[in-house]
Each structure stands twice: as structure tokens, then as C-alpha cells.
Subunit: 683 residues, 2 copies
Amino acid sequence: MGSIQNEADGRQAKTASIYHPLGPLTGDEFTKCAAILQALWPEETTLRFKSMLLLEPPKKDLISYLDAERSGQTPAPLDRAVYVAYYIQSTAKLHEADVNLTDDTVPRNVRLGDGVHAPNDPEEVFAIEKLVLQNPEVQKALAKLELPKQTQIVCDPWIYGSDGVNDGDLRDDIRLLQCYLYARDPNNPEEADGCHYAFPLPIPPVMSPVDFSLLRIDILPTGLDHTPKPLQSLKLGPPNEYIPEAQNLRTDLKPLQVVQPEGASFKVKKFSDLGRTILWQKWDFKIGFNAREGMVIYDVHYDDKSLFHRLSLSDMAIPYADPRAPYHRKAAFDLGDVGAGIVANDLKLGCDCLGSIYYMSELLNDTKGNPREVPNAICIHEVDDGILWKHTNYRTKRGVLVRNRELVVQTILTVANYEYVLAWIFNLSGDITYEVRCTGILSTQPLDPELTHEEHPYGVVVHPGVLAAYHQHFFSLRIDPRVAGNGNEVVYDEAYALPRDKIANPNGTGYTVKRSQVPKSGGYDLDETKNRVYKITNPNIRNAVNNYPVGYKLHIPPMQFLLADQDSFHRKRAEFTDHNLYVTRYREDELFAVGTFTNQSRGGTGVRSWADRNEELEGDPVVWVNFGINHFPRVEDFPVMPMERITVVLRPAIDVPQSEQGVNKSVLLKDVEDEEGCCLAVR
Amino acid sequence: MGSIQNEADGRQAKTASIYHPLGPLTGDEFTKCAAILQALWPEETTLRFKSMLLLEPPKKDLISYLDAERSGQTPAPLDRAVYVAYYIQSTAKLHEADVNLTDDTVPRNVRLGDGVHAPNDPEEVFAIEKLVLQNPEVQKALAKLELPKQTQIVCDPWIYGSDGVNDGDLRDDIRLLQCYLYARDPNNPEEADGCHYAFPLPIPPVMSPVDFSLLRIDILPTGLDHTPKPLQSLKLGPPNEYIPEAQNLRTDLKPLQVVQPEGASFKVKKFSDLGRTILWQKWDFKIGFNAREGMVIYDVHYDDKSLFHRLSLSDMAIPYADPRAPYHRKAAFDLGDVGAGIVANDLKLGCDCLGSIYYMSELLNDTKGNPREVPNAICIHEVDDGILWKHTNYRTKRGVLVRNRELVVQTILTVANYEYVLAWIFNLSGDITYEVRCTGILSTQPLDPELTHEEHPYGVVVHPGVLAAYHQHFFSLRIDPRVAGNGNEVVYDEAYALPRDKIANPNGTGYTVKRSQVPKSGGYDLDETKNRVYKITNPNIRNAVNNYPVGYKLHIPPMQFLLADQDSFHRKRAEFTDHNLYVTRYREDELFAVGTFTNQSRGGTGVRSWADRNEELEGDPVVWVNFGINHFPRVEDFPVMPMERITVVLRPAIDVPQSEQGVNKSVLLKDVEDEEGCCLAVR
């Protein structure tokens, strides 16, 4: 399994050796796809490839394939195809194409309108970071700050956002980056890992990543109101470093090691060159990967029963509270604007996890259409989560206890200043938990030092001269269910007090639970006053004990909805931030809650628009679970924020027939079975 | 440290060797207290001791003592005193006394009214379990069920609850137990750990634990309505056992061991014979124990800064949904009616926790006032909880990551059928989490077998002929704060959208956060639409960075409030179940959210009544965090329920001055310091 890194040797990537319709795109497929598209254009036309995403076969065909495969047949291969977004190099001419790699055709290749922008790519971002500092206008503005000579300047190019009005600014509707500038500690200028967020500067130039020209230099408001001050000598505050060599570290935390003397309990199979099937404790599912969503979970079964067809994080939205220009445009969609796969961390053994860990290295395309490696993008390991269940017979004193072993499938994103630790967690009793840990560094703003002890309307002072604005984090989880097969529906249970009644409820203590169906596509909300619980059920399959439809409960954490107002572009764009869940009818191309192109988007392209079709669900719902936090920063969150955890739990509800009660039972540790063609996870 | 079990050898328990005003009562103190009280009565009058609880010194004196102790002085001892509730044996004559063990006086000794009942004690419960089955009337009723001859009957004596009307029933206002009866599998009658909850019987006798007389035999409704059926031949359904020998166990879960080669990182000091001070990662706090609350956390400091004076679970309430007699009285207060200390599990090495574990064995009184051991009632160990924070510099690719080590102080309660895993969890970044894992076995009801596939208005069928009624679980956490010293206040922050304004909010994206103070005692609620966050702050102490008052945030999980109506006795009695938190002004004797005597109580004795005094808080608030779940049982929850986890997090908010930023920093594992008088935790 360790040979992936060698296989993925840039342009020399070898031909896919294992076919599967869900296999992540291979190096060969990236280069072939690029070549097919390039061949449509004159030789002198250089294409700049943005997204190259596996175009999954139609769900109906895919399900037939997967079912046949599961029943031991060898189904006929389905076409391999790629969705591509590309520019003509150094222009704003954006194209969208579907490329069929099986018959080498391009069934669709269209030029998109001027208002549509692909994400900025890492090559552009790195180039901008350097070029902005070489710009004479920027240098002139920086000079006015009279920083110590040796001061190093760092640029965090930011998504330009959208206010629907001034996006085009000097020229009409072009792709832009807001380049927030910071200093590093002038007394430690060579420390490349210095925390520059302790030294925010008030001049964020606006640059075009298309031709790398400077559009203008904004001046940030650094007071309590909207007025930017004239640039003048800036006195930098003290440093606040997070690297260990700058700390007095604790010396009294003793080692805690997770030891798995017989290795991990899970098995890993290659279902394609880069895709993996995981077999663990009656679970089996496939892990795929792409630039946009990062890890994707497919074809989840438990004890050979179908549960979910596709599970993915569909997008994030992070709007900031500060209404003052240019902060009013500070609103990122970290999947649509950047890409969860693109910014996946290279995970390190003995650092991100304990115990016996298996890594998946993946491939993405660069802007030339060549593969580039994303090493150790996903890690898989087991965790002990304490007690799963216990009962002590108080008469005999005998206690029976089962520990909660979990299988964690994890990826970690770094989006400039910020980190997201994302994990799908499977357990022994049928739960699937999606866990987000928000960590990393706050995106800071400069503040007049004399205001450090003032209350600020839009954020919290986390360091002298440093403001951390309030901001909301939203996540949209896309659940494409297949609980006990096709034909699922979405229902919710609510608890109601029974009315007083001389016979039926004479003491006023009674309550009952009512079930309602989600009949049509739309936005739906939690209601704690009713203990409303949403479920995905299969009305065609009843459990043997009580004849209820089998199903999965959704434990959704509450959240404050988007605070930006009804007419704001934040709201128009971030279509999933106004309901706890959306339910839509399945459509092939609806994977991303904010739409395909989110960069400087104007809205109308996401899940709210789809839900507004008000469609009958007809046994084919897709559930979008939306959750998040409103982050009021703390001093303790700087320089690096201790993680804030948010979890969504998918929990079996009346799902396990009587014969399956072994699910919840005690677990004995015995010898491992033979491998039977499975490759064992790394010890 | 392993010698506690020997020290605590029942009646031979030796005199307290280490004085501390918060030390749990020693064996000697129990016997001395009993002797002092007995001496007030004629020799032939036998006393039956119920609660014997440490009467903590007045808070003001205690704080002076603790502060002096912390500053290295040897403060003058405060009086040791005991709160006692006792009966004259075999009567309903309940007394309450304060016994001063320092000067051997009894400053208070009063007879309580007839309507007030102490908890039933384990000796009474065990006696009832046998006696009820020997009762000829009960035997006659059982005979009508025509169960197989070898069938073993098991009795779960239940809290009688209260409907305020019929409590006294045949005699006026006496203490009662509702004896729910079950069978064990007739095909496996000798299995003492058989799951009798799969065989509920329809005849729950009502017995008096005072004179062990039978009052009546109720007949349970087993249909969909209120009509009990005449007793007739009962066909038992299939068994559903949880013990491992009755299962086909998985064999493919490989060992996962937590290894701490240098032992645990925490240190344990005896602050009294049975009380322990824990020192871990800048934390220090004391752990006490009593019959009512089980473990209690005192005098919590972080980096020698005061945070909380006293943390405890104050009570639970578990009302059931079924309005039909006698289920309308099924509502337990597991601390007030039973006692968290009394039902604390004897925790087992290598079973309840992994790694290096330290146990605290404790002493309680028996009904004669003699000490009885509660072995391994509390366990303390460290856990790795994954990533605490991470930041990767995407330019240098250097990642810095700190893992979240936690210190878990855990106790597990078995209350007849049900288990609660309760833990105070401390972490490296100043968080204190109170975690409840609800597990154990549902309290089941008999159902006519032909209704197994019918929907039931009051519960879910979890097994043929077995109904699990809907029920609510409520917990009330009592927080006696001392954040950065005395003079705390309770505030809440809320996020509000700013109105559109041409200058201040031209794009409708702005929002701000407003702080409000809780001015008076009362019930207060969450409001997710405002992202309302409660904090305990100290307005006198400001953090150096931004001058905000230092404080602790409360992350409170939402809950559906009590469903029983305004006039019900459930609501009158369970005073904490109608608000997410109560804030009261500190009073010495207000420790228990439902009041001191909860058994068959009529209400008016708990936290709602205290809050209704509408008092100014004057820097002396007590915060009662109320949380819970509405349990809609699943088939998967039977026979043993996979835990449902609920957590409350106390999180530092703007609490750590600049010099303290080391809190959030990377942790290096190095050699252990010298012990300096501390005893190291068991390896």
C-alpha cells in the first residue's frame, strides 16, 4: 500500500490498473483528460485547468453496478468521465466541459458568462503573495507605515467575496483577490513560521490573479467607526508566537500511547488505484476523494444492509460581522472557493492520530492538467471512546460493559489561517458521526492600539492592536440516503403534552409522540420545544420487532442562522445558512450547497433554489444537514484556537431486526481471521 | 494509596488521621455521630439512619480556611458536623438533626411532618424484593398468570412517586414502594443475570417499607387504553439476554491498549482520610463524596487562580409519558430518592477505563449508623481526545499540533434498571466538561402480545409483548462559582443583526454582540436565535489584554422542558425542569434542586421556589444548569441501551491574562519532576 507515493510520480503516473466507476481520477486520467480538451483548441492556446472532478455515472446506473458487484457479479464497466472547469490562460474566459475518457469524446464544452468565476488556484495565490509585495504602489503605501527596516511582510490573499455592486470595481466583473497584509515580528524577521496574525497591517491591496495587476489599495478602518485613517507611522505590538520553540512548554505531561499489538481491526481493499473500501465491524464503505469535497464516503453498508449511497461535506460558509468596507465582503466558501481536497494536510504518523494508522495518498490536477500528489490526505484509525453501554445487576453485583470502539476517517484542511479537522466516525452500535473541530488562527484585523481596552462593536481584542471580528461558521453535510434500499422518505417525530382529560390523562402527566412526513422539497428546522427529531426511513422495509419502518435518526446541533439580512449578498449566496436542513429531490448535478461556482457569486445557484422548486420527493430525497457556530472570539483563541467541536450523528432508529441484536453486545478480543484477499492496515 | 480498602474495614474503621473541613465523613465519624444521637433517646428506642451527610462549614468560613491553606498557613480547624435524617425504627417518625462532632453537641434535632419521607434505603429495598414474593395475596395473583412452574419472579421496587391525591391511599400519607414484577426466562431459570425486563408482569403490588405490609396489588393496563384486563394465563415472549455467554460475540475486534510507560501525569494528595486533591496540568481541585451527590468537586483552581468553589450534580428527574395509573406516578429523583453515592458502582480495573487508573474508595453509613464501604466509587484517569489545536503554515508546510489530553473523574450509578456514567473532565486549555452517558436497561411494561405491531401512544415496542414508555431525563448541575475570587455575576451575550444603514451597515452584513446581566434570581433560558451564551464573570478582575472581566462560558445543551402540565405534581415537584438554568442567591442549605426530601414529595421545596424569591444576586450567585433528553426508545436500546451522551462545558472566556498564553501551547513530553511530598498515582 505504501507504493502510492511512487506510483503518483507526477507526469509519469501509470495507467489505472483497477477499474471502478467511483475510483478517484488517476494521474493517467488527468493527463488524458487535459490532452482531449487541449486537442479541441489551437496548439498556441494554453488552457489553465481549475477543477477536474470525477463525473460520477448516473445514480441509477451506479446503484445497479454497485448492487451487482456486491452480489458477486462482474458488472459491465460504466463510462469514466470528468467534469472540467478551465480558463484560456491569462484570460477570464471560463469554460465548463464534460470529458468522456472511455470513448475520448467531449459531449459538453461551453463558455460560461462573464459573471462566473472559477476558484483561484494555489499557483495563482502563491504568485500573488510575491507579486503584491513587489508592486511599487504597495511598497509606497507600506513605506508610510515606517516599519523597522528588517520587517518581513506576509500576504494572505483572501477571497474577494461579493457585494453585488462593486465587485467589478475599476473594470467590469473580474476575478479578484483581497490581499490582507501582515508583518512578522521585526525582532525575529527570519522566522518563517512567525505568527504574522499578531501584526495586521491596514492596507489590503486588491489584485487580479488573471493578469496579476493591482486594482487599488484599500485602507482598513482601524477605529470604532467607518473612517479609515491616513496612513502613518505604525507602532507594532508585541509578538504572539505559536511555534513550540517560542514557548515555555509544560514538562509534566507524560506519554500516553495507544498500542494495538495485533494491529488494527479494519481491513482495507483497493477498489480502484486510489479508492479504498474499508471493512470494519460489520461496516463496509468506500472512500473516494476529489479536489472540491476532499474525502467522500460511498455505498455505506452495515451487516450487508444498505444505509447511505453518498456522504460528503458539500460546502462551508464563513461570513464576518464587520460591516465596514472591505470587510463587508469577507465571506468565504471554503469548498467552492478553495477546495477541501486541494488544501488537505499531509498527515503525519504519530502526530495527528495515535495507534495504528492507515493513510490514503491522493492525486489532483495542477493547472496544466498534470497530476499532483496530495500525500496522506486521509487517515484511518481506531479510537477507544470509553463506555458504549454498561449494566450492573445490583442483586448479583455483576456488571457487563462494552467499550465504544470507533473507526475514524479523518482529513484536515488548512485554509490560509484556519484549520478544520473533519472526520467520519463509525461505531459498534451503528452510529455514524460527522465531527468538525474548528481550530487554527483567527483572521485578524488591525486596531488602533489605544482602543485595545475599549469594547468593539464588531469583534474582540485578542492582542494589543489586534481585533478578531465576530464571524459565523456554517457547514452543509450532504446525505444521499439509501436506508435499506431505494425509496427513502424523510419524517420527523415530535413530543406533545396530552391535554388534561378525566379518563385519558387525569394527572396531566401524559405525553405522546407524533410522526409527520416531509412531503416536499424545502427548508426545515429543528424545534426543541417539541423535541423534533428528523429521520430518514424506508417505508417499504419494516423491522421484525414492532413493524416500524427502518430508519436513521439525525442528531443535528442547533445553530443561529445567518445574521446578514434578507437582501444581503451573503444571504443570496450562502443558500444553506437559513435552515437546519434542506430536503431536495435527487438530481444528478446537485452536489454543492452553494452551487458549482461560488467565487464572487451572486447567489441563486444553491440548495435553497433547488428546494424552492417545491417538488414531490417521491422516495428520492437528498438531505442537507446545516450546522455551525457563531464564533465570539476569546483571548484564549489566539494565537491558535483550542478546537471547538460540532457533531452531527446519524443513529439507527428501529433499524435492527431481532436477529441483529448482536450489534449491541459485548465484544471479546480474539485472534484475527485470515486475510482472504484483503490487505491488512499498516501496523 | 492501595491501603484505603483495608483502612475502610467496616466497623473497625480507624479514627480520622487527617483533618480537613471538606473531608468525607470517616467511619469513626459515622459511628460517633450515631452514638451522639442515640444517646438522646431511651436505650430501647432504635434509630434507623437514612442520610448522614457532611454538614459543610458556612461558605465564608470555609473560603477563609481554604485561602489560608492555599497560602501556606495552617488555619484553625473548623467544626466537623453532620446532617442526619433518621427514623425511629419501624415507624414513620422522621427526624432531622445537625450533629457537631467537634463539641459533641446536637444543635438541632426536630421531628418532621407526616408528609415528609426520607429515601428508601437499600436494606429496605432488598427486604421488600423478597417479602413481596412471599405474600399470599401476591402469590395468588401470580398464580392467575399460569406461568411455567420453574419461572423465577424478580421484583424491581420503584419509587412510588406522587399524584398529590392518592399517595396515602388506604392509610394516610405513608411511605410506599410500587413493586414492579418481572419473570426470568423460564427456560433458563437459574440464570441470576437473566434480563427480566424482557418479561414484565401486569401486577405491581404496593408495599410499605416501614412495616413491609402489602397495601394493594395494582393491575397494569396492557392494551392501548386505560382498561386493565382481568388477570389470566400469560404467554411469555422470547428472552433477550445481555450477558455475553448468551451472545454470538464478534471475534474480530483486536486489542487496543492505552500504555503510559511513565505512569499518569496527575498527582494525588490526601487532603483527608477519604478526600483527595488532584494536581494535573495547572489544575488543582479536591474530590469529596457523600451519599446524596456521590462525587463532589471543591475548590477548583487553575494555575493557582480560583475558578469554582463547589461543583456537583444536584439531582435528576425522570418522569414517564404514560398517563395511565399507576404509571402516572412513575417519576424518579435518582439523587433525592435514592442517592448517587449509595448506588455508585464498584469500578473495575481494565473494564471501565483504559490506561493508568486511580480509584477512590469511600465510606457511607448503613441504617445503624455504622460505616459501609463503597469500594472504587470514583476513578481518575487520563484520556487522549485527539486534536486540541493545529495550525499548518501552508507556505512552509510546517504543522504544529497539540493533542487534547483530558483528566476524567468518573463515577457510575446503577439505579435499578438504569446506568449513568458521570464524569468531570478537565483539559489542557481550561475547559471543564460534565459528561453524562445514559445507558443501562429500559424500565419496561407488559403489552398484550397481539399489539406488538401496533403503534402505541405512550411508547415503543422494543420486544414482543414489551413496551418501553417515552420518558424524559433531566439533570441539574449545581455550580457554586468563584471565578477569580469572590463577587461573581452571571451575564449573557447575544448576537444581533445590525439594521441596514447607509453608512454603518450599507450591505446588511453587519452584526454585533450585546452583553446583558442576570440581575435577579430566576429561571433563564437559551435562545438559539440570538446565540445566547451565559457566562459567569468577575467584574472586579479584568484580563490584561482587553480589559474584559474574566469569566467562564457555559455551553448548555438545549432540551425540551418537562411535558407534564402546569398543574401536575410532576411539575410541582421537579422544580428545575422548566428552564435551562436557574440562578439563585447563595444560601447555606440549598444544595439540591428538588429539595432535601424528594420521596413522595409534593413540591415547593426546590430551586424554582428559591429563585422565586426574586432576590438581588449581589455578587453571590449559584448557577443551576439544567439539561436532559426526551428518550423515544429504539429497538436498538433493548436489552441494553448504547449510551446517549450529553455534555455541559465550562470554558474560559477572556480569562487568561497575556502571561498565561502558555496554556494553549504545544506540549513536550519530558521526564517527571520529583514528587515533593505528593503521592504518585498508581501505575
